[in-house]
């Protein structure tokens, strides 16, 4: 129960105490008797006030206290917030979140009984209220769409209980977490959607890459700001390109330091990549909106993961999969040590797209979250539904009126009880 003006409750309490005290000083009409000489009795109030140790007229006292309490609640604007639909709370734990504590507190504040918590970064998973404390910010790029899909699935489990549920999105809602499906997924939500923005992380420092290669490696030439992996001085690297055989230390480094481990073998690729059943050639590679045309012998393929680059036939040429706090990328693009292929701008662009931090280059710019009708595709075009998240409704606006009416009814009952008591007397 919430009250708008608690001072009225204090006033009601004071009045209630007064009522109790008044019942200790019972005012009673003495028994009636005939006296013909009543005309000689000095006129005074016919009521006799008597102080008693016991509370008199308990029924009247209770009714009066009830009336005072109801009036106090009515004047205080007491109301019971409607419990509302069960909430599905999406908690962003991606790299865009500046403080997990802030996100956790916001999620707990928005939670309701029977609600569902879903933590998401690039993937989404249901968590319990108790396990919220264990959540930490991952180095992964966030995907609102992934979270929303999980929320839709979770909502389906609640459909038999309520027709409508509320979605609470605790996230900085940055641009990198948005994709083309995000607005449509929000528009599909049948119920109020509330966004609780938390602070976004500061812009990431310039990436620093280590390259472990043998000799005059052409890939090393396209890595911006590359430093040899053996050099320990300077700030820690955010990425490591391994052109040789990877070691266990490389995996540990990626897992623990949220670094991007790029396995792009120059030799002995079979130790890192998966050999294709048949070797063929492809005429180009597409990645990051750029295409490199050329003849590439395709002997190996990367393991399954997020596709970063594809051959022209659509097969993945480079993938990324998470590893601890970081990620591992496998690049199956052969680069000849001779020739000018590595010097072409298109190749350099594709190579740089493969050398971004895990989850791609961070883009923590705040994004607008506007539901888009799944039918029209235009923002806010859904008929009969206002664009944007519907605010959660709160009940109780009429509660004080009902309380006042109830108090009035109690006062009427008090009058009846008092009249009846007089009649009996």
């Amino acid at each position: 129960m919430s009250v708008l003006a608690p001072l009225w409750l204090v006033a009601a309490a004071v009045v209630g105490v007064g009522v109790v005290v008044a019942h200790l000083f019972s005012t009673s009409v003495p028994p009636r008797d005939v006296l013909p000489t009543v005309g000689f009795v000095p006129e005074r109030a016919p009521l006799a006030v008597m102080r008693t140790r016991r509370i008199s007229d308990v029924a009247l006292l209770l009714l009066r206290l009830l009336a005072v309490a109801l009036l106090g609640l009515a004047l205080a604007g007491a109301h019971v917030p409607r419990s509302g639909p069960p909430r599905v709370v999406l908690v962003d734990v991606s790299r865009a979140v500046a403080s997990m504590d802030e996100a956790r507190d916001s999620a707990l504040a928005a939670a309701t009984d029977g609600g569902i918590f879903i933590a998401f970064d690039s993937t989404a998973r249901r968590v319990t209220r108790d396990s919220l404390d264990a959540l930490t910010v991952s180095g992964a790029r966030g995907s609102l769409s992934a979270g929303l899909v999980a929320a839709h699935r979770a909502r389906a489990s609640l459909a038999d209980q309520r027709n409508e549920s509320e979605l609470v999105l605790v996230s900085p809602v940055v641009r990198e977490a948005m994709d083309a499906a995000t607005s449509r997924l929000i528009a599909l939500w049948d119920g109020p959607v509330r966004v609780v923005r938390v602070a976004a992380a500061a812009a990431a420092p310039a990436p620093r890459w280590e390259v472990r290669a043998v000799g005059d490696d052409p890939v090393a030439a396209v890595v911006p700001g590359a430093v040899p992996a053996t050099r320990a001085a300077g700030p820690p690297a955010t990425g490591r390109v391994v052109r040789t055989l990877p070691t266990r230390a490389d995996s540990a480094w990626a897992r623990d330091s949220a670094g991007a481990l790029v396995l792009w073998p120059a030799t002995d690729a079979g130790a890192v990549l998966v050999r294709r059943e048949a070797t063929d050639s492809q005429g180009g590679i597409a990645a990051a909106g750029r295409v490199v045309v050329g003849t590439f012998a395709r002997e190996y393929q990367p393991r399954a993961g997020r596709v970063l680059a594809r051959w022209l036939d659509g097969a993945p040429a480079a993938t990324e999969r998470p590893l601890g706090l970081g990620c591992v990328r496998e690049v199956a693009i052969p680069v000849d040590a001779v020739g000018d292929e590595a010097l072409r701008d298109s190749f350099r662009d594709i190579a740089r797209s493969l050398l971004e931090p895990c989850g791609g280059a961070p883009d923590f710019a705040m994004a607008a979250l506007t539901p888009v009708s799944p039918d029209s595709g235009a923002p806010g075009a859904s008929p009969g539904r206002s664009p944007g998240p519907r605010p959660a409704r709160e009940s109780g606006s009429r509660a004080p009126l009902w309380l006042a009416l109830l108090a009035l009814g109690v006062l009427v009952a008090e009058q009846l009880v008092r009249a009846r008591a007089r009649g009996l007397a």
Binding site: V29, P30, P31, R32, D33, V34, L35, P36, T37, V38, G39, F40, V41, P42, E43, R44, A45, P46, L47, A48
Partner: protein, 299 residues
């Protein structure tokens, strides 16, 4: 209606026996009328000698005492008092205030017994006695008669009358044609308080006024407990009487009684205040004794 089975004269037998032999002399010389026990204001030829008076021209020669003239050679008239009966009207207040205390012996019973006692004495004196009860719905009366059976009629009248309502004794008094002796038995409360001015009129017309003021012991000494007193004649009048205002009540009631007594004494009425605690016999004796003292004084 009388309680305690006072429906017949037999209920008053003990009282009547106790009052036997009492006389109720007139407070002043009775007006000439039927022969009776009271000295009349008219001097006549009664065998009972009273005094001599010197003859004055014009006197009745038949009243001259010739024997005395023979001895003294002077003319004297032999004077003797006439005796006349004194018609007595007894007005009894039957207002609601007389029905107090509600349970047990009350003012109404007390007043009826006093009225019957006085009537029996008056009958014994040879006076004609009539009783008028000022009751709700009009006066109820037993016409004045000298026969003793009037007492039975009076007892029956009292038995069939219920003290109730706001009755004006003053109106009843105004309807009673100035009898030689007018007895009012009332508590003089409520409308009966206006009886005092009515008695003034009766006294001015030559009636001998006897006022018996009946109060209840519970009025003189109300219960100590606090209670809401209600006027039986005007139920809307209710006042709380408790220890806080008891003294005020006592003072006001006593002051009023003194005022009523003073007004009645001022009209030379025989005023007797009697409480329900007092025996009827004593109250009646005080009434007739008061008249006797006054009568001796006047004589």
């Amino acid at each position: 209606m009388l309680r305690s089975g006072a429906g017949s004269l037999a209920a008053y037998a003990e009282l009547l026996d106790a009052l036997a032999g009492l006389t109720w002399p007139s407070a002043s010389r009775a007006r000439a009328g039927e022969p009776g026990a009271h000295r009349s204001s008219r001097r006549g030829r009664s065998p009972e000698f009273t005094e001599y008076r010197a003859y004055r021209p014009g006197d009745d020669l038949r009243r001259l005492d010739w024997k005395l003239f023979g001895r003294t050679d002077r003319l004297f008239l032999r004077i003797a008092d006439d005796h006349a009966a004194l018609r007595t009207a007894i007005v009894v207040d039957a207002s609601a205030s007389m029905r107090f205390p509600v349970a047990g012996y009350g003012k109404w019973e007390h007043a009826c017994a006093i009225a019957l006692g006085l009537a029996s004495i008056a009958i014994a004196d040879g006076d004609a006695v009539g009783v008028v009860v000022a009751a709700r719905g009009g006066d109820r009366a037993v016409p004045a008669r000298r026969r003793r059976d009037v007492l039975h009629d009076v007892a029956t009248l009292f038995h069939s009358t219920e003290a109730d309502g706001d009755v004006s004794v003053a109106d009843t008094l105004s309807r009673v044609s100035s009898p030689p002796r007018l007895v009012v038995i009332s508590d003089f409360l409520g409308g009966a308080e206006r009886a005092v001015p009515a008695l003034h009129v009766a006294a001015a017309s030559g009636s001998e006024i006897v006022a018996v003021h009946v109060v209840a012991s519970a009025e003189l000494d109300p219960p100590a407990r606090a209670f809401l007193a209600a006027d039986p004649e005007r139920p809307s009048v209710q006042r709380a009487l408790s220890a806080n205002n008891r003294a005020g009540y006592d003072a006001a009631f006593a002051s009023w009684r003194a005022r009523v007594a003073g007004e009645l004494h001022a009209m030379h009425a025989n005023y007797v205040l009697t409480s329900t605690d007092e025996s009827v016999r004593d109250a009646v004796r005080r009434v007739v004794a008061g008249n006797a003292v006054r009568g001796e004084g006047n004589a």
